[in-house]
Symmetry: C2
Protein backbone atom coordinates (compact mmCIF):
# COMPACT_ATOMS: atom_id res chain seq x y z
CA UNK A 1 0.00 0.00 0.00
CA UNK A 2 1.44 3.39 -0.91
CA UNK A 3 2.10 5.74 1.96
CA UNK A 4 -0.18 8.71 2.41
CA UNK A 5 0.99 11.87 0.70
CA UNK A 6 2.26 14.88 2.62
CA UNK A 7 -0.90 16.78 1.73
CA UNK A 8 -3.18 13.98 2.90
CA UNK A 9 -1.24 13.82 6.17
CA UNK A 10 -1.44 17.60 6.66
CA UNK A 11 -5.16 17.66 5.88
CA UNK A 12 -5.75 14.87 8.39
CA UNK A 13 -3.55 16.50 11.05
CA UNK A 14 -5.59 19.69 10.68
CA UNK A 15 -8.45 17.75 12.27
CA UNK A 16 -6.48 16.75 15.36
CA UNK A 17 -6.91 19.75 17.67
CA UNK A 18 -3.93 21.12 19.61
CA UNK A 19 -3.14 23.96 21.97
CA UNK A 20 -1.45 27.00 20.44
CA UNK A 21 1.86 27.78 22.14
CA UNK A 22 4.62 30.32 21.73
CA UNK A 23 7.90 28.62 22.61
CA UNK A 24 10.71 30.99 23.56
CA UNK A 25 14.41 30.84 24.42
CA UNK A 26 17.13 33.23 25.49
CA UNK A 27 20.79 32.80 26.36
CA UNK A 28 24.28 33.06 24.87
CA UNK A 29 23.03 32.10 21.39
CA UNK A 30 20.39 34.83 21.42
CA UNK A 31 16.69 35.46 21.74
CA UNK A 32 14.16 33.29 19.91
CA UNK A 33 10.48 32.50 19.82
CA UNK A 34 8.02 30.77 17.54
CA UNK A 35 4.50 29.38 17.47
CA UNK A 36 4.29 25.61 17.93
CA UNK A 37 1.31 23.32 18.30
CA UNK A 38 3.33 20.09 18.58
CA UNK A 39 3.82 20.05 22.36
CA UNK A 40 2.86 17.24 24.70
CA UNK A 41 3.41 15.88 28.16
CA UNK A 42 5.86 12.96 28.40
CA UNK A 43 6.24 12.03 32.07
CA UNK A 44 5.82 13.59 35.51
CA UNK A 45 8.91 11.86 36.89
CA UNK A 46 10.82 14.06 36.35
CA UNK A 47 8.25 16.52 34.96
CA UNK A 48 9.04 16.48 31.24
CA UNK A 49 7.35 17.67 28.07
CA UNK A 50 8.38 17.51 24.45
CA UNK A 51 8.34 20.07 21.67
CA UNK A 52 8.74 19.30 17.95
CA UNK A 53 10.78 22.01 16.19
CA UNK A 54 11.30 22.28 12.45
CA UNK A 55 14.96 21.70 11.59
CA UNK A 56 14.54 24.03 8.64
CA UNK A 57 13.89 26.98 10.92
CA UNK A 58 16.88 29.26 11.56
CA UNK A 59 15.76 29.24 15.19
CA UNK A 60 16.23 25.49 15.63
CA UNK A 61 19.91 25.87 16.53
CA UNK A 62 19.15 28.74 18.89
CA UNK A 63 17.05 26.53 21.15
CA UNK A 64 19.62 23.75 21.19
CA UNK A 65 22.55 26.10 21.83
CA UNK A 66 20.78 27.93 24.66
CA UNK A 67 19.67 24.62 26.13
CA UNK A 68 16.53 26.19 27.61
CA UNK A 69 13.00 27.01 26.48
CA UNK A 70 9.67 28.19 27.80
CA UNK A 71 6.34 26.84 26.47
CA UNK A 72 3.68 29.54 26.78
CA UNK A 73 0.20 28.16 26.07
CA UNK A 74 -1.95 30.94 24.67
CA UNK A 75 -5.28 32.35 25.81
CA UNK A 76 -8.13 33.66 23.64
CA UNK A 77 -7.20 37.18 22.53
CA UNK A 78 -3.61 36.23 21.73
CA UNK A 79 -4.37 35.08 18.17
CA UNK A 80 -2.54 38.00 16.56
CA UNK A 81 0.55 37.31 18.65
CA UNK A 82 0.40 33.66 17.60
CA UNK A 83 0.27 34.64 13.94
CA UNK A 84 3.18 37.05 14.44
CA UNK A 85 5.36 34.30 15.93
CA UNK A 86 4.30 31.77 13.29
CA UNK A 87 6.03 33.61 10.46
CA UNK A 88 9.67 33.21 9.63
CA UNK A 89 11.65 36.14 10.89
CA UNK A 90 15.19 37.35 10.45
CA UNK A 91 17.25 37.51 13.62
CA UNK A 92 17.18 41.29 13.46
CA UNK A 93 13.40 41.27 13.65
CA UNK A 94 13.21 39.14 16.77
CA UNK A 95 13.14 42.03 19.23
CA UNK A 96 10.41 43.67 17.18
CA UNK A 97 8.40 40.45 17.30
CA UNK A 98 8.71 40.30 21.09
CA UNK A 99 7.82 43.99 21.47
CA UNK A 100 4.12 43.28 20.88
CA UNK A 101 3.61 41.63 24.29
CA UNK A 102 4.86 41.78 27.89
CA UNK A 103 7.27 39.14 29.15
CA UNK A 104 8.63 38.03 32.51
CA UNK A 105 11.18 35.51 33.75
CA UNK A 106 10.99 32.41 35.90
CA UNK A 107 13.98 30.08 36.18
CA UNK A 108 15.90 29.62 32.93
CA UNK A 109 15.88 33.14 31.52
CA UNK A 110 13.53 32.23 28.64
CA UNK A 111 10.76 34.81 28.10
CA UNK A 112 7.53 34.00 29.98
CA UNK A 113 4.47 35.50 28.29
CA UNK A 114 2.17 37.66 30.41
CA UNK A 115 -1.44 36.59 30.00
CA UNK A 116 -0.64 33.07 28.84
CA UNK A 117 -2.99 30.36 30.13
CA UNK A 118 0.00 28.46 31.48
CA UNK A 119 3.80 28.59 31.03
CA UNK A 120 6.39 25.84 31.45
CA UNK A 121 9.98 27.01 31.93
CA UNK A 122 12.28 24.15 30.92
CA UNK A 123 15.83 22.94 30.51
CA UNK A 124 16.49 20.80 27.41
CA UNK A 125 17.45 17.25 28.42
CA UNK A 126 17.68 15.46 25.06
CA UNK A 127 17.03 16.01 21.37
CA UNK A 128 15.95 13.23 18.99
CA UNK A 129 16.20 14.12 15.29
CA UNK A 130 13.41 12.64 13.21
CA UNK A 131 12.99 13.57 9.55
CA UNK A 132 12.40 17.28 9.13
CA UNK A 133 11.95 17.90 12.86
CA UNK A 134 13.83 17.85 16.17
CA UNK A 135 11.94 16.29 19.06
CA UNK A 136 13.13 18.26 22.08
CA UNK A 137 12.66 16.66 25.51
CA UNK A 138 12.61 19.38 28.16
CA UNK A 139 12.52 19.07 31.95
CA UNK A 140 10.22 21.56 33.64
CA UNK A 141 11.95 23.77 36.22
CA UNK A 142 9.09 26.16 36.92
CA UNK A 143 5.47 26.68 35.97
CA UNK A 144 3.21 29.72 36.04
CA UNK A 145 -0.55 29.55 35.73
CA UNK A 146 -2.13 32.68 34.28
CA UNK A 147 -5.36 34.29 35.32
CA UNK A 148 -7.14 33.15 32.16
CA UNK A 149 -9.42 30.16 32.65
CA UNK A 150 -9.64 29.59 28.90
CA UNK A 151 -7.29 28.19 26.32
CA UNK A 152 -6.74 28.57 22.59
CA UNK A 153 -6.93 25.59 20.25
CA UNK A 154 -5.83 25.20 16.60
CA UNK A 155 -8.32 23.00 14.74
CA UNK A 156 -9.42 22.90 11.09
CA UNK A 157 -6.81 25.58 10.33
CA UNK A 158 -8.45 28.13 12.61
CA UNK A 159 -8.31 29.37 16.20
CA UNK A 160 -10.93 28.21 18.69
CA UNK A 161 -11.31 29.52 22.26
CA UNK A 162 -12.00 26.81 24.81
CA UNK A 163 -13.11 26.64 28.44
CA UNK A 164 -15.47 28.51 30.72
CA UNK B 1 15.77 26.17 42.41
CA UNK B 2 13.79 23.05 43.33
CA UNK B 3 12.01 21.29 40.50
CA UNK B 4 8.25 21.55 40.29
CA UNK B 5 6.35 18.78 42.03
CA UNK B 6 4.42 16.13 40.13
CA UNK B 7 1.17 17.68 41.28
CA UNK B 8 2.19 21.18 40.16
CA UNK B 9 3.16 19.74 36.78
CA UNK B 10 -0.12 17.86 36.43
CA UNK B 11 -2.17 20.90 37.43
CA UNK B 12 -0.31 23.01 34.87
CA UNK B 13 -0.63 20.37 32.13
CA UNK B 14 -4.39 20.31 32.75
CA UNK B 15 -4.42 23.82 31.26
CA UNK B 16 -2.72 22.83 28.02
CA UNK B 17 -5.59 21.60 25.84
CA UNK B 18 -5.23 18.43 23.79
CA UNK B 19 -7.31 16.29 21.47
CA UNK B 20 -8.82 13.16 22.99
CA UNK B 21 -7.76 10.03 21.11
CA UNK B 22 -8.36 6.31 21.43
CA UNK B 23 -5.20 4.54 20.31
CA UNK B 24 -5.70 0.92 19.27
CA UNK B 25 -3.61 -2.05 18.18
CA UNK B 26 -4.18 -5.60 17.03
CA UNK B 27 -1.88 -8.40 15.93
CA UNK B 28 -0.09 -11.52 17.20
CA UNK B 29 0.25 -10.04 20.71
CA UNK B 30 -3.47 -9.33 20.94
CA UNK B 31 -6.06 -6.59 20.86
CA UNK B 32 -5.52 -3.35 22.77
CA UNK B 33 -6.86 0.16 23.06
CA UNK B 34 -6.62 3.09 25.43
CA UNK B 35 -7.38 6.79 25.66
CA UNK B 36 -4.37 9.04 25.09
CA UNK B 37 -4.10 12.81 24.84
CA UNK B 38 -0.33 12.90 24.33
CA UNK B 39 -0.25 12.64 20.53
CA UNK B 40 1.42 15.07 18.16
CA UNK B 41 2.64 15.47 14.62
CA UNK B 42 6.40 15.03 14.14
CA UNK B 43 7.15 15.33 10.43
CA UNK B 44 5.42 14.95 7.08
CA UNK B 45 8.47 13.35 5.44
CA UNK B 46 7.71 10.53 5.95
CA UNK B 47 4.34 11.28 7.57
CA UNK B 48 5.02 10.54 11.24
CA UNK B 49 3.31 11.19 14.55
CA UNK B 50 4.23 10.31 18.08
CA UNK B 51 2.24 8.84 20.95
CA UNK B 52 3.33 8.79 24.59
CA UNK B 53 2.30 5.55 26.31
CA UNK B 54 2.58 4.82 30.02
CA UNK B 55 5.13 2.07 30.64
CA UNK B 56 3.12 1.02 33.70
CA UNK B 57 0.16 0.04 31.54
CA UNK B 58 -0.16 -3.69 30.80
CA UNK B 59 -0.96 -2.63 27.24
CA UNK B 60 2.40 -0.95 26.66
CA UNK B 61 4.04 -4.21 25.55
CA UNK B 62 1.08 -5.07 23.35
CA UNK B 63 1.64 -2.02 21.15
CA UNK B 64 5.36 -2.64 20.85
CA UNK B 65 4.95 -6.36 20.12
CA UNK B 66 2.29 -5.79 17.46
CA UNK B 67 4.36 -2.98 15.94
CA UNK B 68 1.24 -1.18 14.70
CA UNK B 69 -1.29 1.30 16.08
CA UNK B 70 -4.20 3.48 15.00
CA UNK B 71 -4.79 6.95 16.48
CA UNK B 72 -8.54 7.70 16.43
CA UNK B 73 -9.23 11.34 17.31
CA UNK B 74 -12.64 11.56 18.94
CA UNK B 75 -15.71 13.61 18.04
CA UNK B 76 -18.23 15.19 20.43
CA UNK B 77 -20.60 12.45 21.60
CA UNK B 78 -17.79 9.94 22.13
CA UNK B 79 -17.04 11.08 25.70
CA UNK B 80 -18.37 7.90 27.30
CA UNK B 81 -16.23 5.77 25.00
CA UNK B 82 -13.20 7.87 25.93
CA UNK B 83 -13.86 7.30 29.63
CA UNK B 84 -14.32 3.57 29.03
CA UNK B 85 -10.92 3.31 27.31
CA UNK B 86 -9.23 5.50 29.93
CA UNK B 87 -9.65 2.95 32.71
CA UNK B 88 -7.28 0.09 33.29
CA UNK B 89 -8.73 -3.13 32.02
CA UNK B 90 -7.75 -6.77 32.28
CA UNK B 91 -6.95 -8.47 28.99
CA UNK B 92 -10.14 -10.50 29.27
CA UNK B 93 -12.20 -7.31 29.34
CA UNK B 94 -10.72 -5.88 26.17
CA UNK B 95 -13.32 -7.32 23.81
CA UNK B 96 -16.06 -5.99 26.09
CA UNK B 97 -14.47 -2.55 25.95
CA UNK B 98 -14.43 -2.61 22.15
CA UNK B 99 -18.02 -3.89 21.97
CA UNK B 100 -19.39 -0.41 22.76
CA UNK B 101 -18.50 1.03 19.33
CA UNK B 102 -18.16 0.01 15.67
CA UNK B 103 -14.73 -0.50 14.16
CA UNK B 104 -13.25 -0.91 10.70
CA UNK B 105 -9.83 -1.62 9.21
CA UNK B 106 -7.47 0.31 6.98
CA UNK B 107 -3.92 -0.90 6.44
CA UNK B 108 -2.28 -2.36 9.55
CA UNK B 109 -5.16 -4.31 11.09
CA UNK B 110 -5.49 -1.95 14.06
CA UNK B 111 -9.13 -1.07 14.84
CA UNK B 112 -10.34 2.15 13.16
CA UNK B 113 -13.16 3.82 15.08
CA UNK B 114 -16.35 4.61 13.17
CA UNK B 115 -17.41 8.20 13.77
CA UNK B 116 -13.95 9.44 14.76
CA UNK B 117 -13.07 12.92 13.51
CA UNK B 118 -9.92 11.52 11.95
CA UNK B 119 -7.93 8.26 12.16
CA UNK B 120 -4.23 7.61 11.48
CA UNK B 121 -3.28 3.99 10.83
CA UNK B 122 0.42 3.60 11.61
CA UNK B 123 3.41 1.29 11.76
CA UNK B 124 5.74 1.82 14.74
CA UNK B 125 9.16 2.99 13.55
CA UNK B 126 10.99 3.69 16.82
CA UNK B 127 10.40 3.80 20.58
CA UNK B 128 12.28 6.14 22.91
CA UNK B 129 11.90 5.31 26.62
CA UNK B 130 11.73 8.39 28.83
CA UNK B 131 10.97 8.08 32.55
CA UNK B 132 7.55 6.56 33.12
CA UNK B 133 6.58 6.71 29.43
CA UNK B 134 7.44 5.28 26.03
CA UNK B 135 7.54 7.82 23.20
CA UNK B 136 6.36 5.84 20.17
CA UNK B 137 7.21 7.23 16.72
CA UNK B 138 4.76 5.87 14.18
CA UNK B 139 4.73 6.23 10.40
CA UNK B 140 1.30 6.83 8.92
CA UNK B 141 0.24 4.25 6.32
CA UNK B 142 -3.36 5.36 5.88
CA UNK B 143 -5.73 8.07 7.06
CA UNK B 144 -9.49 8.28 7.22
CA UNK B 145 -11.41 11.51 7.76
CA UNK B 146 -14.77 11.08 9.42
CA UNK B 147 -17.96 12.93 8.62
CA UNK B 148 -17.79 14.93 11.86
CA UNK B 149 -16.58 18.48 11.40
CA UNK B 150 -15.97 18.87 15.13
CA UNK B 151 -13.36 17.59 17.54
CA UNK B 152 -13.18 16.79 21.24
CA UNK B 153 -10.63 18.51 23.48
CA UNK B 154 -9.49 17.69 27.04
CA UNK B 155 -8.90 20.90 28.96
CA UNK B 156 -9.18 21.76 32.66
CA UNK B 157 -9.93 18.08 33.35
CA UNK B 158 -13.10 18.12 31.27
CA UNK B 159 -14.29 17.45 27.72
CA UNK B 160 -14.92 20.37 25.36
CA UNK B 161 -16.44 20.08 21.86
CA UNK B 162 -14.71 22.23 19.28
CA UNK B 163 -15.37 23.37 15.73
CA UNK B 164 -18.37 24.40 13.66
Amino acid sequence: MPAVTRQEFRDAMARLGAAVNIVTTDGPAGLGGLTVSAVCSVTDDPPTLLVCLNRGSPQNRLFKDNGVLCVNSLAPGQEALSTRFAGRSAEADMLERFSHASWGLLSTGSPVLDGATVSFDCRIAEVVERGTHSVVFAEVEAVRQGAASRGLIWFSRDYHPIGA
